[in-house]
Symmetry: D2
Subunit: 346 residues, 4 copies
């Protein structure tokens, strides 16, 4: 049984507490939040859980094995570092940190202390994304051609990060899990519509060594909510629409064939192939429930989490490059140095 | 009665012929195409129309007042120039020419000869786009924030142009008509999946002097056909979905409000406003029918077409910049020199 | 503050408990269920609530003012009668009782004791149905022509009632609230696909004195979930789609006009009118929350609930007639005697 | 080469002419219509086709082998009988005739003269319906449970028939082709909203000897166009949505399982099975083109058409019974005598 303390009971914290509460392998012992009203909400719903406005009380508690951090991004590094230093395993909200430098330091600290450091890349644990990974691994898509995602809605404007760090981070964590390559460069454009505030609309292109390309369209000012990703390959293609109540993942047996012939000296002969569509049944277990279980198992067995610090670092590295490119109106920012993050760090 | 000759009876030519045929103000006199089989299709359907494989025959015919050109882009300039030199009014398929230099020369030639030069920016004549323009003109959207369009499907891979010149040109012609500003710079990214062929996926961002931004997502390799444009403003927002059989244009009374207060010294206070949605009835007359009528009227009255050579030139200027930016992986290409195309040329 | 006891913690009971818990005017004191495991779920979530497997303990508690009953239909009458006899106000799940005779006896008992008797016709309290009522009251639809509802999904097969009593009851309770008339007759057809079990597919037509007609399509064996109602009138028409996450209610300015002229001696001249569509913003407060508040207010003020015993009785009367008609393969069953239920009972 | 004459160039006639024109096995020789303006439309489009306002001229033409009749229902019998008597093969619009008696007489006349008598049950020739038949034949659905269709839109109000004869006839012709049984009885309800005119909304239930049931919802007064059919079976289920541009037919691996056990002495144990969905690629050839080809082949080879006079008669028999039931407010009308129409007539 892993005893968990949760720091931050704002938007996402209640989901963490509920899932650690219902997971048989974990128990929620303490919740901290700066806002006493939020703590009252904890007490009303979970009378047995201790609450505090001082997270240090939580870190001092020797009964607590692990800490889950769901606070604003700017505080992730400080809180996670203190938690590791207090000997706690850490699950930190995405994006892992506000800079890749911070992410590297957390990874080192966790390795030094043999503690589990896991990033809450929630989508990786959904039935939809796991099924897409399965289809890719089976070769259903063939060579991967593109990942193209639209993630737009009205609000919530964040105070400490731009829309890329808030919304594109979801796609980057999914891409980190699904795609076999790490981007070599990033180009991003965007705009802010509130004076002095960060960009609320952004477009990110990631380039790869192969003929893969990725593109993310994120927007806090859309009248409609869209969560749609297209994944194209040489054999088949996927449409993943997270707004569908069922039928979230559709696999299309569609594509092109390029013919060679005498005429191709002068022009292309492209054929279009259009076959059946298949919509696999998905596991509907709540992602966070699976993630809570996985976190507990990693603590108990010492195995590295699926979404470990390196995954978090790689995502933060792309976020950094994207924000930099956006400042330079789309100028391509190289990620070559970051490309082998797996090796360097591991 | 305007007598029309049509050069090119491939994909779009039959639509031109049909609409000039049904329009009371025009009559189709001759159709030319290099492919005799295409001409047989003309004869089968319109026994009274003369056909020829030699477009020069068409240009020589003194009975023909105007020529409509629907051939590959690379031939637009040469055919249009010859037609103007033969004293014919010209309607040319979009994109107008393969370069802005060519577009300028056609404009000059038409002005010198007092001939009508019109570009077939078809979408401008649809009920949907005209209604959106009406809503913008009424101030329904307030200050314009963004134009964000997705135009993807499987095929048709073009032989002489990339996907920007084939698909983004539709949006650029709509933007040219709807938006009050011309872009100051463009950033584009993209990729080609067929060796030696042009890019089949591309993403284009257009920057403006105001806080407007435009983004186009075009793709010949999508398993599903999407034709969706979001138009955001400070007051209301539009979703224009051309795949809807009815309800193509939806106006959302949604947006944000930014509050000022003591707390705003530290953080934003953004409020979200969500009201009714309204879906106006649209004129369903075929766009090309309206366009044929407009072309005839311009010839008869000497007025400038809504989609004149300058409109065509401005669109081609953005296309050129986008393709250049795409070669440089998103580097921003300035359009400052092109910004006052209306003045310079006129 | 109204103290509430809840009998039955199966499918719907948890929603009742949660809403009485969160409603400031009510407090949940006790929950009874025959299944101890269900009661453990209560204790885990609401440690302060007393639980019991014996509902009589709940009825004996003098601190309890009101009882909410969410048990199988066959037990509604007995439990509600005992609760009234114990001096408790009663909120009973729909359908109110298993027969109109039982419904009448509950109404009489409640009136004799001056207790509130309310039926949980949940949909009546949704933002969507209240908005539709508002549009009807404003005359937006003109003369009502039809109410046509499809309510189908896979499962849940009920053990003690057929699909009409399980699914059509929702529509009948909405119709009871929205439509100005009570049906004069009912025709129903249906079929059962499990030996010895009740009908799992049924179709119900209700006839009215005016030119209104209503039709319900209910099915436990549908591969897709549909919750769609069309409401046609002489002026405008409504599509109410409860599966839409937003945009549940759409008002269409469409209809027909009938012309008179010389030609109409021989044939009809029907014109079709097609105008804008309008989608009003809806109140998204949970219906049961509003209902809990309304129940408390009725107890405190003595006013009759919007969905009182008579509403419940009228719905049960149509259910009875529909089931009878279904046994006779669609033979029309008169509701003339029931038509003035409002007057007789009140 | 079959020479065809077409009687009636109103709503459907142009589709017949176009398809007989493009079909290599047929040639359109003459078109008749009472309205000279309609004939001008023929001449404008097909200058080589003879036109006449006198259908008798068409019947007298010895060069004409076959006649296609697309006129109001009330005239079908008379025109078809005259055509047969003139020795012409006949393709008649659906519904075949205004009564089953008329249908029988046409069948007899055609058999006596060894002429092909085919009914234009267009949907039977669509890729969607043929694919559904294929899936049924393969046993994909298991035992058939229900056919449930909604076919509603705004207009066109017909002058000589009610909405059942206009819209339900499509479903009855599809059912005739897809379902292995003929109904034993029919119950129908409906209403008319124009004084003196026929019903514009109707609901039809068809009962079968097995546990199959069919239901049709047809309406000329709907604000939205719906063309959706659910087909349920013991193994899998189909949703056929004809308004989808692609993905018209979806096969759901969903259903129920009924368990037997000690507990089942008291209540049912129904399990719900939910698996993948599969959307087969469909042949997109225009149905009428296939039908024109099939008509020509039947004439040349003497084989019976897929949609022969008996199919037409069976559909008309159900229409008659449905209209009768609608007059009696849903009273079940037996079709027992019609059940063996295949044998009696053949």
């Amino acid at each position: 049984m892993i005893h968990v303390g949760v720091i931050g009971y704002g938007y996402w914290g209640p989901n963490l507490v509920r899932n650690f509460f219902e997971c048989p392998a974990t128990r929620v012992r303490m919740v901290s939040d700066l806002n006493p009203e939020r703590l009252e909400a904890v007490t009303r719903r979970y009378p047995g859980v201790v609450t505090t406005t001082d997270y240090k009380q939580l870190l001092r508690d020797p009964e607590i094995d692990a800490v889950a951090i769901s606070t604003p991004v700017s505080t992730h590094f400080g809180l996670a570092m203190e938690a590791l230093e207090a000997g706690k395993h850490v699950l930190v909200e995405k994006p892992m940190t506000a800079s890749s430098e911070q992410a590297r330091r957390l990874i080192e600290e966790a390795e030094r202390r043999h503690l589990v450091l896991m990033v809450d890349h929630t989508f990786v644990y959904t039935g939809a994304v796991r099924k897409i990974r399965e289809l890719i691994d089976q070769g259903s898509l063939g060579e991967l051609y593109y990942y193209d995602s639209t993630r737009v809605n009205l609000g919530l404007f964040q105070h400490d990060v731009d829309v890329i760090w808030d919304l594109a981070v979801h796609d980057l964590s999914i891409m980190e899990y699904l795609l076999p390559e790490f981007p070599v460069a990033v180009s991003a454009t965007g705009i802010g519509h509130i004076n002095g505030a960060a960009e609320n609309i952004a477009y990110v292109t990631a380039f790869y060594e192969s003929s893969l390309i990725a593109h993310l369209n994120v927007n806090w000012l859309s009248p409609v909510k869209v969560r749609r990703t297209l994944l194209g390959g040489s054999r088949q293609m996927i449409v993943y629409d997270d707004m569908e109540s069922s039928e979230k993942v559709k696999l299309y047996d569609k594509g092109i064939t390029v013919k060679n012939g005498p005429e191709s000296l002068y022009k292309l002969l492209v054929g279009y192939r259009s076959g059946d569509m298949y919509c696999p049944q998905l596991d509907v277990t709540e992602a966070l429930r699976i993630e809570a279980q996985h976190f507990a198992e990693c603590i108990e067995t010492g195995q590295a989490p699926l979404t470990d610090g390196y995954a978090g670092l790689r995502v933060v590295s792309v976020l950094e490059a994207a924000t930099q490119s956006m400042k330079e109106r789309g100028k391509s920012i190289s990620l070559q140095g970051s490309a082998n993050l797996r090796k360097i760090c591991a």
